[in-house]
Symmetry: C2
Subunit: 104 residues, 2 copies
Amino acid sequence: MLTSVDTELMRVLADPLRLKIVTLLAREILCTTHLVEETGAKQTNLSNHLKVLREAGVVETEPCGRFTYYRLRPDVIASLAGRFAELAETAQVTAATDTKRTCP
Amino acid sequence: MLTSVDTELMRVLADPLRLKIVTLLAREILCTTHLVEETGAKQTNLSNHLKVLREAGVVETEPCGRFTYYRLRPDVIASLAGRFAELAETAQVTAATDTKRTCP
DNA sequence: TGAAAATATCAGTTTATGCTGACGTCAGTC
DNA sequence: GACTGACGTCAGCATAAACTGATATTTTCA
């Protein structure tokens, strides 16, 4: 059974800046200041995007004094990768067998 | 080296209706009429979304008389799945080793 | 305690984009 | 050759969402 891809998660990850953040967090656990440096975005803007990522469960926070560390949740990304892999596999079979519905 | 996820492709796939179309096309090659039936969306709306998917290289068309068959390109989805799998793998290592940049 | 730094929140503006209705085009059928 | 059905295009509208500036909150350090 082909489980569908989470639309909300896709929406969250579709923004260029958020995708950049996710890519950066995949390599290192960073705090907002680092992300401001790396992306060049305004702190306010970044904070908004981080909130979106947090609420979507993509990242987790860990307070450290007056800093806040952000870490990416690997399982969320892995799950998404799995969904797309399934989808690609299904599409592969469809293409190979040329499964088409007849015109009405 | 971690190749980044294609933002444009993500934007295209982030729409609920387009994701629905992609999921349907993964199983069967369909024409617009079928997609109208399956999704319940207006033909015009669907045509607009199909154009977006076409221009992004996600789907291909095959004319058949006055009908137009749409097929999903498995390689595009497979590639995306691969990128996310890499990202997840990197994030997994980062989490396991607790790789964090020190506060400035 | 007062100042500064790190981060979050809020309100307002602007931009992007999805949806719709009207219309155009091309292929098949009577 | 006129008609119908499948599909695409275009212009306009409406909503969502990204960006910004101002401000609040919390923590650290002198």
